[in-house]
């Protein structure tokens, strides 16, 4: 009978990713490019919000989009049609993007051409919340049809975001979505989060969101 030995390991599983993510942030700082990680459920309106944001900001900042949402070029083509460079990461059905995947995308772009990059993360409220993409700030969308209970069901993602965009507020009248209950639930998890109520369809609230993103970008790129 062979003797069982105990080996100390003491390693964090996500440690490798954290190192890559920190390196990526340093690179972005040096190149004066801000990067936002945008997360949401499928259908919350990530691509449409990005298009609205481009319309509101492209005269002020040089923008680019890293599409990771699904393994197709549909979203990238929509963004390019708005006159902004977009690259598609082939995530191959992966549930989230990690810092190494984003780094590959960033390396394929000439950062001199960009003040602001937006990552459209995979449509999912669970996995992207756990994995640092190397972005400077994290934002998420919660759309009105998804319901005001999402902060109770998916608490982690609300704790890692700097901004929450409540999208599709044009649906509020038709729904029983309770905005003040949702706000209280989110602020319980993350008292520092900025909340923007918008409708990408009507354009309501887009300006306040775009202003926040502009301020954060300018503060980072100096």
């Amino acid at each position: 009978m062979e003797e069982v030995r105990l080996i100390e390991v003491k390693e964090d599983i996500l440690a490798d990713n954290t190192v890559v993510a920190d390196d990526l942030r340093s690179k972005l700082k040096k190149e004066k490019t801000f990067m936002l990680n945008l997360m949401a459920s499928p259908g919350a309106g990530k691509t449409t919000l990005i298009l609205r944001t481009i319309e509101a900001m492209k005269n002020d900042l040089k923008m680019g989009v890293i599409e990771a949402d699904i393994d197709s070029i549909v979203d990238a083509e929509k963004v390019q049609a708005h006159g902004v460079e977009a690259i598609q990461l082939r995530t191959g059905g992966f549930c989230h993007v990690d810092a190494s995947m984003v780094l590959k995308g960033v390396n394929a772009m000439d950062l001199d051409n960009f003040d602001l990059l937006i990552i459209e993360n995979v449509g999912n409220l669970v996995c992207p919340a756990e994995v640092d993409t190397g972005s400077v700030k994290n934002a998420m969308i919660l759309s009105v049809p998804e319901g005001d209970d999402k902060p109770l069901k998916y608490p982690m993602i609300f704790t890692v975001c700097d901004a929450l965009v409540v999208n599709k507020i044009d649906y509020l009248e038709l729904s029983d979505f309770d905005m003040s209950a949702m706000r209280e639930r989110v602020l319980t998890l993350n008292p520092d989060i900025k909340i923007f109520e918008v409708s990408s369809k009507t354009g309501e609230g887009i300006e306040a969101w775009a202003n926040w993103l502009k301020e954060e970008t300018n503060a980072f790129i100096g």
């Binding site: 062979e2 030995r5 080996i7 003491k10 964090d12 599983i13 669970v126 996995c127 993350n190």
Partner: protein
């Protein structure tokens, strides 16, 4: 939902340490997983069994210990545990200050048993 990448990292790290220690087989792996993780023990083991097939970690048992969500008050530095599933507030019970997460998101490999 992302059991596959997480268990793959566990496997890679453990095999690396096992080889460095001239181990022939990994019998068990002791992990600390934060309460904020949505991964279920049973599924992590299933994914691990699938990935570890034909490696020196085949058949290894994952011993998973859950670590509580711990936050610290930004004002008075009071540290306390939060039961996130019971929707407890992330506000300091002493002074109602806002708090920063100290632990509860980690996937940490403590040690492993090898022969």
């Amino acid at each position: 939902m992302h059991e596959l990448p997480v268990t793959e990292s566990i496997l890679n790290i453990c095999v690396k340490h096992a080889e460095a220690n001239n181990a022939k087989k990994i019998v068990a792996i002791e992990l600390k997983v934060g309460e904020m993780s949505d991964l279920e023990d049973e599924w992590m083991q299933k994914y691990f069994d699938y990935l570890a097939k034909d490696s020196i970690a085949e058949g290894a048992k994952l011993k998973i210990e859950r670590t509580p969500v711990v936050v610290q008050c930004n004002l008075c530095a009071h540290t306390f545990n939060v039961d996130i599933k019971k929707r407890e507030k992330l506000l300091c019970p002493e002074c109602e200050g806002t708090c920063t997460l100290i632990s509860g998101k980690e996937y940490h490999i403590k040690n492993m048993e090898v022969v």
